[in-house]
């Protein structure tokens, strides 16, 4: 679980079965475990109206466990970018009453939430559960480039190369934490880089 922090930082909960007929799950890697745990508490037939879109981790784990839930539709995607067109269409065509569940890394939850917001879904109606890596998606405030899977503090911007303090300040619209140059006042000060978001 991510530590408690400032108000703009998202707070994640525990997935729980919502009333309704249509359920869309988006998960990556260990997010699959959040779905399995929730399934144990779900009423019979819950997954008859469910779609699970899953991006497996590097070891391809948890695929069989999700298939065993027998969702109406099961889609394996190799990356979030490859899932994006399908997700946009699904959410764009969704009627009132679709329930959205996001589970896994903060980067996955944030980017799926971004698509949901663009489709007009209120963020407070979305179920989220953080599982797995604490790696952050970071926007460089200087060059505006996004660096994925940031695990260190400070972190180097993968676009402009500035050394950035990874703040807790978070934008849902950008699905990113803010990175601000950590040695802007004196570039010769180079603080040690530590593993902060394993």
């Amino acid at each position: 679980m991510a530590a408690k922090s400032i108000i703009s930082r998202p707070v994640y909960g525990t997935l729980s079965p919502q009333p309704g007929k249509h359920h869309l799950f988006i998960a990556d890697a260990e997010g699959a475990l959040a779905i399995s745990d929730m399934a144990a508490r779900a009423p019979a037939g819950f997954f008859d109206g469910a779609e699970i879109d899953f991006i497996p981790g590097p070891n391809n784990e948890h695929v069989a466990a999700l298939e065993a839930l027998k969702p109406a539709r099961f889609h394996l995607a190799p990356s979030f970018a490859s899932l994006l067109p399908r997700l946009k269409q699904t959410l764009g065509n969704a009627h009132m009453g679709l329930r959205l569940y996001l589970a896994g890394t903060e980067g996955l939850i944030g980017q799926a939430m971004q698509v949901a917001l663009e489709a007009g879904i209120d963020h407070t109606s979305v179920q989220t559960e953080h599982r797995g890596s604490l790696a952050r998606r970071m926007q460089c405030v200087h060059c505006k480039g996004i660096t994925e899977n940031v695990t260190t503090q400070p972190a180097t911007c993968s676009h402009c190369g500035l050394l950035l303090l990874v703040r807790d300040h978070y934008s849902r619209r950008l699905a990113a934490f803010q990175g601000v140059c950590i040695n802007a006042e004196d570039r010769s000060e180079i603080p040690p880089m530590e593993e902060a978001f394993p």
């Binding site: 108000i7 926007q139 405030v141 200087h142 505006k144 934008s171 950008l174 140059c181 004196d186």
Partner: protein, 346 residues
């Protein structure tokens, strides 16, 4: 009789100065010898002649130079001006407010004439004479918010009110004290203030939001905020922090008076009539230490405020690196004698 506009810069050679009359009207933000956050909001009503409150939208001798600096910032980074799609009507509200107020306060410089929806706006300092149809964006060279805020001093945030909260959904922000519109746009009141230390725990933002969501049309409110800036630089954005940050290492006992500036924001809050949004102008006033200490009361008081500022606030305001040098310099102007209460010079 009108304002004599100064030719000056807020970058490179930094020729910005205040005339003696403008030093005396500077909105000094400390009414006592100490500073701590408070919900210091009061009705925005007209103040004494010759003060920055003489008109509710203040235009001063820096007007033309500030508008030129804004144009330079926007040319480099158009993301400093953004408006989410549902905010166009609020932009028209703001255009009306700023045209009316500037024409009312400075008829020798600005004229607004209306014939139904057909409006003519004359801005003499900037050499603008445009006729357009109110509500029809295609009749202006920019969207309504961008058009009028390229002609108005200060930053402007337009807040949408819904679900009992205020949402930062549009803005023109080129003179900000280290916050990013591009990052914060779309956030609610608590989210965009999230990085501010101490104030959340004190319940400041909960009370401030309650006040702001109840603001009525025709009854604006205001508060002062402050920080310090090295060199008279308007664009102290986080976007360019790696460019202006090194300025903070250049303060020496010899150049404090010229380099260190008190930066005061006169923030006001206005209900907009058509959109029911709130516009939040953040008008920035700069004064260098050499100018400020020409008023002995301000010199004594600023010394005590900066010396005694809690460490967390000093860090948040970015003073840490040069605070000892500044306090030492100011201490020589503080004989320990009492200061009168209130903001004004003696």
């Amino acid at each position: 009789m009108g304002i004599t506009f100064r030719k000056e810069t807020f970058r490179d050679d930094f020729t910005f100065r205040n005339s003696p009359e403008h030093i005396r009207r500077f909105p000094f933000p400390f009414h006592e010898d100490a500073y701590m956050y408070a919900v210091n909001i009061e009705p925005h009503v007209v103040g004494p002649k010759g003060s920055v409150l003489e008109n509710l939208i203040d235009v001063d001798e820096h007007y033309i130079a500030e508008m030129q600096d804004r144009a330079l910032v926007l040319a480099e980074d158009p993301l400093r001006c953004q408006s989410l799609p549902h905010m166009t009507l609020a932009g028209w509200d703001l255009l009306e407010l700023l045209m009316e107020q500037q024409a009312l306060g400075y008829p020798e410089h600005f004229t607004l004439t209306r014939d139904g929806d057909r409006w003519r706006w004359i801005n003499r300092p900037l050499g603008i004479d445009d006729t357009f149809t109110f509500g029809d964006t295609s009749t202006l060279p920019y969207g309504p918010m961008e058009y009028i805020t390229r002609q108005s001093q200060g930053d402007f945030c337009i807040l949408d009110q819904r679900d009992g909260n205020l949402w930062m959904d549009a803005g023109m922000v080129t003179t900000q004290a280290d916050w990013s519109l591009d990052f914060d746009i779309g956030m609610n009141f608590f989210e965009w203030h999230a990085p501010v230390p101490l104030a959340h725990e004190k319940g400041i933002f909960t009370r401030a939001l309650k006040f702001l969501t109840n603001i009525q049309q025709g009854k604006p409110a205001r508060r002062l905020n402050w920080t310090m800036t090295i060199n008279p630089r308007l664009d102290t954005s986080p976007e360019n922090y790696h460019k202006w940050g090194p300025d903070r290492t250049t303060v020496t006992p010899q150049n404090v008076g010229d380099k260190v500036h008190l930066r005061v924001e006169l923030q006001s809050f206005w209900r907009l009539p058509r959109s029911n949004g709130i516009v939040f102008p953040i008008r920035c006033y700069l004064i260098k230490m050499d100018e400020l200490v020409t008023q002995p009361k301000w010199a004594r008081r600023l010394h005590r405020v900066i010396r005694d500022l809690p460490e967390e606030l000093a860090t948040y305001k970015g003073l840490t690196r040069y605070r000892p040098t500044l306090v030492e310099w100011l201490s020589k102007l503080d004989d320990g004698s009492p200061t009168s209460s209130g903001f004004g010079p003696d």
